[in-house]
Symmetry: D2
Subunit: 406 residues, 4 copies
């Protein structure tokens, strides 16, 4: 396991950007949080619109976007650090125009879209004027295995006819279009069976059945996960995104950066929860003579253990980002797999410990912890469940040994 070249040093300008983001979140966004926990997201849209405008004015819009799309053109290490800073707020990524799945959709439209697709879909999306969704996960088949995908797109003259039943289509409610993964060549090899399509959500064959009730909340607009039906959904063949049969390849492209983005967001959450844990320990008096939770050795141990764990997790993600920046995603493959499950696990442990130390307060929505506890539980599931990543990474490592490669 060699690691003899690595440099995470970032520029002073970048450091200033990060400070700016933190200040903005603390001053302008955190005060909105309690409202966010108690009102439908849709009702917050006007206020969020104003904040987005401020972000643009500050020149911080789209940290992940190339400059030509009005973004900051950051490296992945830099974008990772921005994602971490934004992750401290559940509204951060949305306000800065780098929220999933739009960020990923922008990326693939940018790389694989036709000029017309870019004009019509990419431009307004990158500008935050519209939203999109990504319809891949199916209700009835295991997302971990692409050979099981059942939704189909059949060519019929100048059109494709799409049929399928998808869910966990994040933000379908209010989206202008969906990118949909559909089987086009059932008999092709697994990697070449499916294609991606752009489907405007006003297409009569596309239907948002419901916003799935998740952990007690159905959500609305961007903060929702839709169950959608494609029923004899006809779209012009120009809406094919990239080459036919290349759906999984394209999906693969967005995976590396998306992973860094998520893991660093989780680390932002870890940072926030850890801060809360420590502050609560310092404040919570447990005896008449003023002894606090911070005086308890078991709490001190917990703080030390989580500190060590977060530090390690953070280094591993920055390292993976650095590898992608320098050597490409393929070489960083094992690292990208490893951070997915390990950082998600770290986040769950940090949130759980922070909640626990807050006692009853932690169970309530008077702090952010209960929100993080229930909604960030998804991290060990989406983008590949822990088990899937562990199996495939373990298999790959063992094969490398069998081949004498390690």
């Amino acid at each position: 396991m060699p690691l003899f070249r690595m440099d995470f040093t970032i520029s002073e300008k970048m450091q200033m950007t990060l400070d700016l983001i933190r200040t903005f979140l603390a001053k302008e966004v955190d005060p909105l949080e309690q409202t966010f926990f108690r009102k439908p997201f849709r009702e917050l849209l006007p206020e969020l619109g104003l904040l987005r405008a401020k972000v643009k004015q500050m020149g911080l819009w789209g940290p992940q976007l190339p400059e030509e799309l009005g973004g900051m053109g950051l490296s992945l290490v830099e974008h990772g650090l921005v994602s971490e800073a934004l992750g401290r707020s559940p509204l951060g990524h949305y306000l800065f125009g780098c929220q999933a799945p739009d960020a990923g959709n922008i990326e693939i439209l940018h790389m694989f879209g036709t000029e017309e697709q870019k004009e019509r879909y990419l431009k307004p999306l990158a500008a935050g004027e519209i939203r999109s969704c990504f319809a891949m996960t199916e209700v009835n088949t295991a997302g971990s295995n692409p050979t099981l995908l059942e939704s189909t797109a059949v060519k019929d003259g100048d059109e494709y006819v799409l049929n399928g039943h998808k869910w966990y289509t994040t933000g379908a409610d209010g989206a202008s279009f969906s990118i949909a993964m559909m089987v086009t060549n059932p008999k092709a090899s697994p990697a070449l069976r499916a294609s991606m399509f752009i489907v405007p959500t006003d297409n009569p064959g596309f239907q948002l059945m419901r916003n799935i009730q998740i952990m007690g909340e159905s959500g609305s607009d961007y903060f929702s996960h839709g169950e959608v039906m494609f029923q004899s959904c006809r779209i012009p063949k120009e809406n094919l995104l990239g080459r036919e049969g290349h759906g999984f390849r394209i999906a693969q492209e967005r995976l590396g950066p998306g992973r860094i983005h998520h893991c660093m967001r989780w680390l932002g959450i870890c940072g926030r929860a850890f801060d809360m844990l420590c502050e609560r320990a310092n404040e919570r008096v447990i005896t008449l003579d003023g002894r606090t939770l911070a005086d308890n050795d078991a709490i001190q141990h917990k703080v030390a253990e989580l500190y060590a764990e977060i530090q390690q997790a953070r280094l591993s993600v920055l390292h993976a980002a650095w590898m992608i920046d320098n050597d490409g995603a393929t070489k960083a493959r094992d690292h990208i797999a490893a951070i997915k499950f390990s950082v998600a696990g770290t986040m769950q442990r940090v949130i759980d410990a922070a909640l626990q130390i807050h006692g009853g307060l932690g169970m309530s929505d008077d702090t952010i912890l209960a929100y993080l506890y229930r909604h960030e539980r998804g991290a060990r599931i989406y983008d590949g469940a822990d088990e899937v990543h562990k199996s495939s990474l373990g298999k790959r490592i063992l094969k490398d040994y069998a081949k004498g490669k390690r």
Copy 2:
């Protein structure tokens, strides 16, 4: 650690009762569950009322109640097994009239109430005609340390004047009266500082400020946790429950049985989640040739580990119940402390694993798992956080060793 006497054998009649309960829940209650996840509890009241009537007709009302109060008069081991059976449904305890905190309130009214108190509060409560709440936990002080309690009751002629700020007063919304723990003798020794009072909720000095939003839900009626204020709340001195200064002693009394009740309820939850885990593993196809999650060794390991853990947890709770039945709660003290944190931990692990294997479905409210995940998280906090029990149990064991008692 001697254990040379123990007999859990139960009667055939009891076994039939348990079967009856299970069948009733499966047929009559489970179909209500999705509605319960999606509608305010208050809207379900009519339907629940009908089901309660059926429970009474079957002679299964009040499994924990002595026969003189119209209950089944079970031993603690037996009641534990009933609690386990009921625990499989989030509506079980409510429907059978043994829900917290009413069950505990009934117990102490029965043991310490005056005849008048019994007539006025206990009778309708035991019959399920009214509900009650228990106001102990304070917003500003650590519940783990009774010497920190700040709410006061000051005698003024024939009345007590109560002032205090409480929360996590379960089911305050819709309750007819509250039992409230208030400091009556601030200078007394810790164990004798506080007293219990019966406070009708229509007293003008009692105010339900809000139903606390917990894990995204404020709830209503019985399924709610209130933040309540006692402001110059005057009650007649006849509303003192038990002797003045005996508040903590009385609270102590309900602890043993309450613990068994909770732990067995948690084991009912474990049983249900474990069933779902296994069934999902058997059903979820992960390859084209029909291999399921159940064919995965890692899943098999998880199933075996959780099975072993649940078995052990269950034996430990039954053992503690048996000890209380036979030797009294004082001798069973260490066992009662141990099951609190260990069984809560087991439940959290089982729920987490069941949710994980359900993937996206597990995050949604289409199954019960997301409900259990977010709301049963409280088990490691209420009735004494894990840390509190571990410290006090550990301390006690170590002291026993120091004294040569073990």
Copy 3:
């Protein structure tokens, strides 16, 4: 998971026996321990012989033996409790004549031996006049899968000719005979491929190659694990033990009781290590003003957690023993599997924690902890590695669910 019948109550006589054993170990055996850690076992034989004589005089020889063999004729629950008491000393089982593998060998000779075999082998073995060993595990094949067994016994006239390479033949050094598992019918179904044979160790075809150096020690006599060769080893056909092809069936018979025996021995070890942990915590001063490790919350937590874990483990083993006593080993199968890996894990954690709290002293052989740490590590491996038991138990449970049996 029903558990509605269970009675662990034991007789007063039994309780007195247990006390007697404990006193004997504390007074007569513990003083030998440091010598045992520093000298070859063989050098201790004279002294151990005297102690065995005392055990016989007290009428405590062979707790697991039926009365007709000069033993105590205990139930499995009772024998389990004796095994726990003996387990506190590494010499306990040997001194009381119930050490593995002799105890198991006695059991199968008693059940399946011919009259002649009983006369010649069983009698002196049960009396402790000779020792035996059990040659099953092979150097080159995975013991977890009996279909891989390679050693063979081929009939040749009135003899069998044995060839094979075995190891972990416990106590081969100094044994009078070995029971050996050999393939007799390579083409039979897995369960019927092998047979058991009695092989006197002075047979010229039997050779003890070495006492395997395990965790730094080769050991000698009973405290050793041999690597043995069977090379054209001819034995009369009368030395077949039980029916040809029934080797695995016979092995199966000794499994249930053997498991209880081991698990309770491990619990004896847990008890001893836990005692040491608590005593050390009480004694070890860590500040000038006399604060000890016992005053540290993190240590208190550890004590509480291990206490809860040991209690649960203990109940689960007694429960399994009780099930075997009452319902037979087949019905108790899942329980027997579960205790193997869960109790072994508990023991490892308890020993590790006790060692840790002893610091440098724990690493030295000045206490028993370092001995337990290194040698009892085997518990997660012998008699089926954790992984093997978890896979098979998990598979069985999942199949039961598929069949609607649970």
Copy 4:
């Protein structure tokens, strides 16, 4: 938790050095290993002497030594990587002249020794002509708390008179001198109570009582841990090392680099054990049709989890080394504390898993795993037990929060 500057890139020359070391160990040292497990270390000395000569010829002697002492003058990051490479062999550090405690003793003699001390003790020590030991840990007091130190040095004219009872004085057997930590100013503040002295082992007041039997082995020469007595041990005042009262300050100095050295050695062990785990999984056939342990999902998961853990551990140590190199040990303090307990834990888990997968073979000394299992257990104890580091790190972090520093 900012981390915006970090560069681990190393030179090509360094990379070649590491390759050279690995090849040397594999070809020249590994073949000695089985002998090392079975014979007293003292008997290996002649052969080891020849290998040391080869190391010197290759110019690889003393990777941690400054060039003026005949070493390689590496940075801490570089030295860390060398320590990792050497850590794969239990003989590595000794053969390259960077074994504890000599490496630390050299460091403090170099920094604080007088010219005469350097001439007499440092020179031959750095050249590997003599060995030294470090007498700090006491038999009767907790090493974690320096205020408890009891051994004394009292000035008497031109001499100091030393009295004390120490143990875990590594390599005392065969050492030419000891550096001893003794209380010189009992009433001074904790940090200024003790001083360091150079004590030749042929001083009549110095006695090696025994080589402590650790995990079954007393060891000899360098591979031993001594219990030593200082009894009216008179040494000239010139043998004071550094200033009187500065003993702990000096000890502090060697802590940072020593920590990196140890943690990277542990990572070398992790690498070796992980390799063995993977190779065993690939080789071990578990079914007739050739399925191996590597085909088992549970093993794949374990491989993936340990891979992720080792990667993270490695990054955290290199990061700490880089911080010491660039910002000094004081600023890196929290990182240095965190890696101690987290990497020791990782190593224990990796070794345990590797041993487990080797089954019976893993318990034997036919591989290195049993050696690592028993002797490297000390890592969680020496240089400060896990608990000590967790408490002090946790306390420090919490205090920083209280001061608003984080």
